[in-house]
């Protein structure tokens, strides 16, 4: 698992199969607290502050959605 984002997600929920999910939230892989933990990890890893208005399930549904969220909040990917 070389994708750093997948590594962070695996730390949040090690038993979740993110690769075979089309929507992490709807598939029950990430709950509200996971999204909080993920946001905290992303902020520390990428030295950014994620805008509170971006804290919506749509921004955590897929890897691409999370990458867009990071880019929007100034992360260097």
């Amino acid at each position: 698992m070389h994708d750093p984002l997948l590594q962070i997600l695996a730390r949040i929920r090690s038993d979740a199969d993110y690769r075979n999910s089309s929507n992490f939230v709807e598939d029950g892989l990430l709950d509200s607290f996971d999204m909080v933990m993920l946001t905290s990890e992303l902020e520390k890893t990428y030295s950014i502050t994620i805008d509170g208005l971006d804290f919506v399930p749509e921004n955590f549904a897929t890897l691409d959605d999370i990458r867009k969220l990071l880019a929007k909040n100034g992360a260097s990917l």
Partner: protein
Amino acid sequence: MPESTVTPGASQRLDTLSPSPQSPFSQAIVLGGGRIACDCLKSLADTGLPVHAIQNDPSPFSLLQHTANRPRCSWQMLNEQQSLTNHFLSIQQPTLVVSANNAWIIPPKVLDNPALRFINYHNSLLPRHRGRNAPTWAIFSGDPFTGATWHQIDTGIDTGPIIAQKTVPITPQTTALQLVAQCMQAASDLFRQLLPRILSWNLPNARPKDRLTEYHSSHASPAEGLLDPTWPFPKLSRFLRSLDYGPLDVLPKPRLLLSQPDPDACPVINRYFLHNSHTPPPRPQTPDCRSHVIHRPDTSITLWLQ
């Protein structure tokens, strides 16, 4: 997750609680929200008992409704105190009520309903750190460990007879957010272990001797939320980590105490980095942030202020 163990001596040990094959309950209610409520609902549903989830936190992120979408389970949102009171007063069939991440203080007249038996999850080793934001107070107090407590509910706040507890260690790096997650996991594991005893309602009934310990209100912050840069490093670290709930606004962000007489004029600490004195911290990406460095012999703390 750190290893957790049942606390010996702090409450009745699990292995001394004798199970009973008979359950007096014909249904269960999970009251609250968040992950711990979902986990309890799943464990209860696996027993075949009808389970009704009552969510009283209108968070759009909660998966409780999603989790309740299974056989013999139902869900409803009740977030007004009067509606909750009326609902629980109307119940006549024997019901186990599991309060998990529930901020509603259940009124005495509801507790007096003879059809209901209540248990609650609290994220500390009661009787220590009753009230709100217990992980904050456990970290700031320098406790080497805290944990999860399941207890019966009485008319006090977090004072009912303790059913069982599980410890979680606090390391010099643990933040409040991490501790919330670790205590929730410990509580879920403990609930699954305890379930046969809970369903038979064969539980210890002794209250802790010193049950009326200090109570933490929802608005209280350590040191009133002001970081004094003259503190020794361990206290600086504990203070910052105790208020670190990541993106959650559980408590107001801490402020740096400088020379201002008015605490509201002290700058807000947006982020902090505990680092080796020889290693520079990351650069702030927000242009309106400025940094303030507190030096100690081997360690530095860089604060991003706003």
